[in-house]
């Protein structure tokens, strides 16, 4: 038997073991939908069956009806909060990766600045938020800055961690090919760190939403956080649940997007 045929038989066995990806995807989607429907039925049924007062838990159908009655407020709020979240997330992610690289390259900088970074993260976000509002006013930017503040730190830490896991033998090999520091970074170190960076980005996707919503509490007219606050002041329980559902949709959707990007870009780490 030649080398080729041995390898071929090996790879075809591997391919047969895996089901078709499309089929797999469909089955997952159907199950997810089924789970959501069951949860909705349980919610609705429990409220009716046990006579739970709407003050504690309104019926799901009542919440959906309330959203349908004034859809524009929810759509506007959703888009506004999404914009704040996205700007904060992208800026925080980019800044985190850059600072992570800088800390990796320059040990002195890391020893000087890293403790300050840690201290910055111990300040409660509410206290920091007050300052940001003083600086930027009640603008979209102010919310994005708070989202950024919650986002950059985990990304910095994980970028640094990821860069430090690079196999020194691989670095030696690249150097023996005559690789420059830039080539080392782009062709070896950053790709190696990518799985770690994505762990932080998934976390950051939820944190940036928290930052945006908390930012809106300092004062604004549109946004999911604003809807939440207004509903709370008027003790409109149905509206609180409406804003909650919209936030959940935004948070889940955003997380799913980041996770999907991860699966596409870091395809190798799941399969090794």
């Amino acid at each position: 038997m030649s080398i080729d045929s041995a390898a071929l038989s090996l790879s075809s066995r591997g391919a047969a073991g895996r089901p078709a990806p499309w089929h797999d995807w469909m089955r997952k989607a159907v199950r997810l939908l089924l789970g959501l429907v069951i949860a909705a039925v349980v919610w609705e049924g429990a409220v009716v069956l046990f006579g739970i007062k709407p003050h504690y838990l309104p019926r799901l159908s009542a919440i959906l009806a309330a959203i349908a009655a004034t859809p524009q407020a929810y759509v506007d709020g959703f888009l506004r909060t999404l914009a704040e979240t996205l700007i904060g997330f992208v800026a925080g992610g980019a800044f985190g990766v850059l600072i992570g690289i800088a800390f990796f390259r320059l040990r002195a900088l890391r020893e000087m600045a890293f403790p300050i970074f840690v201290v910055s993260q111990t300040i409660p976000v509410i206290a920091f938020g007050a300052l940001v509002v003083l600086w930027f006013g009640n603008t979209l930017l102010a919310k994005a800055v708070i989202a950024f503040y919650l986002t950059f730190f985990p990304v910095t830490v994980n970028t640094l961690l990821g860069l430090e896991t690079v196999d020194p033998r691989q670095v030696a090999m690249m150097r023996s090919f005559g690789a420059s520091r830039r080539q080392l970074l782009l062709r070896l170190q950053l790709p190696t760190a990518l799985p770690q960076i994505f762990v932080a980005l998934r976390l950051a996707s939820s944190l940036s939403l928290v930052g945006a919503i908390v930012g809106e509490w300092f004062g604004d007219t549109t946004g999911l956080g604003v809807l939440l606050l207004q509903a709370m002041y008027t003790e409109n329980v149905v509206a609180i649940w409406g804003a909650l559902l919209a936030s959940a949709l935004l948070g889940t959707g955003f997380y799913a997007c980041v996770a999907a990007a991860e699966r596409r870009l870091v395809f190798w780490s799941a399969e090794q």
Partner: protein, 285 residues
């Protein structure tokens, strides 16, 4: 200077002068790490087109020798390092020697072709051109049809061949192979050895090959260097004048056995020394 120019004019066709001047020359090369002397006054020369294998007890400084020749580590001052007739620092050899480490070290996010062209890319060859060059080489490395597979989809032997292809594509005067088949099972290893000889004879590269395996050292090499226990130097230089191409059954030929006996004896002596010094260290510490 004059002599250097003359060799250039005679061209790549190996003339007598060319063969006379070694490609790589190490004279009295020493390397210490703090208290430990890894290499002590090591001498070695490698001629153009030669296949030299290095064997020795574990911890004899083989890897240090390789790192120096690959340009990754600078030897202590006092020794002489000459490459292509010019005296040089180890750092000058970075990018001049195609180095294949023990493990395949393939990048998991690159497919077979893109892993193979890594060194070319670093060198600045345009990606399309490098890929075309790699695609032409695939069949010879038993990788035809696998160009778009990723390392995790390949067997150990195939991964090793991708790594070898990466080394071959990086066309340099000297190839350094550090136990490239150490992690493979015996059958795959035997197959890879024969295949490497075929490819070597076709491309006529100069190879310095580290191994633990005496059979492998004799089967592949024109010359075998046996290293001493730490501090490492060359204990024995054995010319292997077995005819080429070498058939697998050559390992049972009387001449092969005779060489093996000589080499094993030399290694045995050194292994005992390094074992004893390890025991002494244990007792004193």
């Amino acid at each position: 200077m004059q002599a250097g120019l003359q060799t250039k004019e005679t061209g790549p066709v190996g003339s007598l002068e060319d063969a006379a001047e070694p490609l790589l020359e190490l004279r009295a090369v020493t390397k210490t790490f703090g208290e430990v002397t890894a290499l002590a006054r090591l001498d070695a020369t490698i001629a153009r087109g030669e296949f030299v294998t290095v064997v020795g007890p574990s911890g004899c400084g083989k890897s240090t020798l390789f790192n120096i020749v690959a340009g990754l580590e600078e030897p202590d001052t006092g020794g002489v390092l000459r490459f292509e007739g010019r005296s040089c620092h180890a750092a000058d050899l970075l990018g001049q020697v195609s180095f294949m480490p023990q493990r395949d070290l393939l990048l998991p996010w690159r497919n077979v072709v893109d892993n193979a062209i890594l060194a070319l890319e670093v060198e600045g060859v345009p990606r399309q051109q490098a890929r075309a060059q790699a695609l032409r080489m695939l069949p010879e490395f038993g990788l035809a049809g696998f160009e778009n597979q990723y390392p995790h989809q390949l067997s150990g032997g195939m991964r090793q061949r991708v790594a070898l292809m990466r080394t071959f594509l990086f066309e340099r005067g000297l190839m350094l192979l550090d136990e490239p088949f150490g992690a493979l099972d015996a059958l795959t290893r035997a197959m890879m050895q024969r295949w490497l000889l075929d490819v070597w004879q076709k491309y006529r590269r100069t190879i310095l090959f580290i191994t633990h395996d005496v059979d492998e050292a004799i089967f592949l090499g024109d010359r075998v260097l046996v290293m001493t226990a730490r501090p490492g130097s060359v204990k024995l230089e054995q010319v292997v004048d077995l005819p080429r191409p070498r058939r697998p059954e050559i390992v049972t030929a009387p001449e092969f056995i005779r060489l093996k006996r000589i080499l094993l004896e030399a290694i045995e002596e050194e292994s005992i020394k390094s074992f004893q010094s390890a025991t002494v260290r244990e007792q004193t510490s």
